[in-house]
């Protein structure tokens, strides 16, 4: 091949790569930067800051002009910037067992040393903890409540092993009222119920848009992958209930639809479609994404990002505070393993996937325990191959690259054989 042909191939490759890039990513980064900057300067603007769990009821905070900060989102950033190991080690030196959740370990030590990629989070004026995602957050937030000496509100959402009982409904509903009282006490302001309705409306709208975006990947080839979803997820988590989130997701949805129309695939050659389970391995996303892409496999959907639109069915815009109880209690991690398996089967069918990749995440017991049973159910009912990757979301010491490499290769060989 002569050099001119080489240059053309290189140029084509560049053009192709450029076309595949999701344009909205740039805007997303800007929005997140602004969001964090506002949080850092909250005090100067007389705004209060609340640290809240990822499954926590953020809408009343938005309605009361309190800036929500998500230590979990920040911990993901710590993982992605490969700063997790140091911070986890520091937490262990503080006496926290290395077997504890790496989000919690990173955040607890980060608060003390102001580490991490943005020099630490701004101090909270209050802590809001909802245990719908796990019991770890309860303990984590107790630690921070002691450390920062600020009021802590706990929204206790009992596990719905077998459906949403009237007892649970009554309990959580009462706590929503207690939550509002808590916020009003800490801020000294009253909740504006009209504003609350507006925020509720925007929250629902945002979630519907997020759902729309996630559904575009049913298209073959897929316009984006789970790795992109991990990135774009941040807004529906941190800014749910704001116009900013709605506007952005409208743009992203539009871009995805255009890509679908033009048949733009996120990976160069999509031959195999996969489903991802559990949180991301934040410090190895690039490697994982490339690894699967090299096998012409696209992770078209995942159970983690879809959790932020699974509550849509329970939300009643006109009775937002009322319906919050059910919406926050019946999330993916707060139901029985059999119900989770049903949702996984639905996704396998909806996205027409050839294989299932499960991240056995050492840090997350509610997500990881039950995976083995779900794996069996998936194998029995669909016959698709299932890969289990042992890792951790933020602590790289629990991950062996060569092990993962071998497993992925073996898994893909099986899939290729079957197809």
């Amino acid at each position: 091949m002569d050099t001119n042909q080489n240059k053309d191939t290189a140029k084509e490759k560049e053009k192709d790569k450029d076309q595949r890039k999701i344009k909205s990513a740039k805007k997303m980064r800007e929005i997140m930067t602004t969001y964090y900057l506002e949080a850092m300067t909250a005090r100067e603007n007389n705004k209060k800051i609340a640290w809240i769990t990822s499954g926590g009821p953020v809408e009343p905070l938005i309605a009361m002009d309190i800036i929500p900060i998500y230590p979990e989102n920040h911990a993901a950033m710590i993982g992605a910037s490969k700063m997790g190991e140091d911070l986890c080690v520091k937490a262990e030196e503080m006496g926290y067992s290395s077997d504890l959740c790496s989000y919690a370990r990173s955040d607890i030590s980060c608060a003390q040393v102001n580490g991490g990629p943005i020099g630490g989070l701004p101090r909270p004026d209050m802590l809001v903890c909802c245990n719908n995602i796990c019991g770890t957050v309860l303990k984590w937030y107790e630690v921070q409540a002691r450390y920062f000496n600020v009021p802590l509100f706990i929204l206790d959402t009992p596990v719905c092993h077998n459906g949403y009982s009237p007892e649970i409904a009554a309990y959580v509903r009462r706590q929503i009222d207690e939550y509002i009282v808590f916020l009003e006490t800490v801020t000294g302001e009253k909740l504006d119920h009209d504003k609350m309705t507006e925020v509720g409306h925007l929250a629902l709208q945002g979630q519907k848009l997020w759902q729309k975006i996630l559904k575009t990947t049913t298209h073959k080839p897929s316009p984006m992958s789970a790795f992109d979803a991990f990135f774009f997820l941040a807004l529906i988590v941190t800014l749910r209930g704001t116009k900013i989130a709605v506007n952005f997701y409208e743009e992203l949805a539009q871009e995805m639809e255009e890509r679908v129309q033009k048949g733009i695939s996120i990976i160069p050659h999509e031959r195999y479609r996969l489903l991802w389970d559990n949180l991301p391995v934040w410090y190895q996303l690039k490697w994982l994404s490339q690894k699967f892409s090299d096998h012409n496999a696209c992770l078209v959907a995942d159970t983690y990002t879809s959790a932020w639109c699974s509550a849509i069915q329970y939300i009643d815009e006109n009775k937002f505070l009322d319906s919050m109880a059910e919406a926050y209690t019946r999330i993916y991690l707060n139901i029985g393993v059999d119900e989770m398996a049903d949702q996984v089967l639905d996704m396998i069918h909806l996205y027409d996937v050839d294989g299932f990749v499960m991240h056995s995440n050492r840090s997350c017991k509610p997500y990881s325990f039950g995976q083995l049973d779900i794996m069996e159910i998936v194998r029995k009912k669909t016959g698709i191959p299932v890969l289990m990757l042992e890792a951790d979301m933020v602590d790289p010491r629990n991950f062996s690259l060569s092990q993962a490499d071998t497993r992925i290769d073996a898994f893909m060989e099986i899939i290729k054989q079957k197809k």
């Binding site: 030196e93 790289p396 010491r397 062996s400 690259l401 060569s402 092990q403």
Partner: protein, 257 residues
């Protein structure tokens, strides 16, 4: 009066004799597979060396994992206590001990009077112990005794970021295949072990001056890696391996029999 200390470790057995508050002899031999005979031998060989008879010895304290195998000892005490006493005896200023042996590693914090204030142990897995270095030496086809020297010649230690020896070994093998420089990999191994051991030290809030003991203290690469990890001077002293036995002998002298 003469007092004896015997330390039965997993790889070596050590003995020490003290007379009139002065150290008069020490010995190190391999433990082999029988701690009972090792205890007898390390004691009798040292006596022969120093021309002392068993009857001359007033009291004996045994320590180490095999301390209860020394039937002729008057008392058995843990190696943590013995290391603390030994280090303090040799240098009363010492406030911290980092002991890295064949099978475990420990960090011991002493108060101003030389008493153990806090301690932490890693005796559940190989990472950060002599065993870890042994495994790596094998993987790299290097003599265990050369490991430290070679690590000091590296300017860019490789990053081996695992808490598991098995993981680390597979990473090292990948690095060898990836043709990373041998001395860099070796330096990386030392940093990884130092990270593990260093964590123990930070947990017990160790203060300077700190001394390193145990067989691994003879590894200059480890001493340097620990120094870098903790940001403090790490002393080694003249008796890194015998420190526990020396402490045991001192404790024997304090027994009221």
């Amino acid at each position: 009066m003469i007092f004896a200390g015997i330390d039965i470790g997993s790889i070596t057995a050590k003995s020490a004799l003290i007379q009139n508050g002065k150290l008069i002899g020490t010995l190190v031999i391999p433990t082999g597979y029988n701690p009972v005979t090792a205890g007898e031998k390390v004691f009798s060989d040292l006596l022969a060396q120093t021309n002392i008879t068993p009857q001359d010895v007033t009291a004996i304290v045994a320590t180490g994992y095999g301390r209860n195998s020394v039937a002729f000892a008057d008392k058995a005490m843990t190696e943590i206590i013995c290391h603390g006493v030994g280090a303090h005896f040799l240098n009363p200023k010492i406030r911290g001990i980092i002991d890295v042996g064949g099978q475990d590693s420990k960090a011991i914090a002493l108060d101003k009077a030389g008493q153990v204030e806090n301690f932490a142990m890693n005796d559940k897995c190989a990472a950060g112990t002599g065993r870890f270095l042994e495994v790596m030496a094998k993987a790299l086809e290097v003599e265990l005794n050369d490991l430290g020297r070679i690590s000091l010649t590296s300017n860019a230690p490789s990053k081996i970021s695992s808490i598991c020896t098995v993981f680390a070994e597979s990473e090292v093998i990948s690095m060898i295949a990836g043709q990373q420089k041998r001395e860099d990999i070796i330096a990386g191994i030392h940093e990884s072990a130092a990270a593990r051991v260093g964590s123990l030290a930070t947990k017990v809030k160790i203060q300077s001056p700190v001394i390193m003991t145990g067989g691994v203290a003879k590894n200059q690469g480890m001493v340097k890696a620990l120094k870098n990890r903790l940001g403090i001077e790490i002393l080694v002293g003249d008796f890194p391996q015998e420190n526990g036995a020396i402490g045991a002998a001192v404790l024997a002298s304090r027994l009221s029999l």
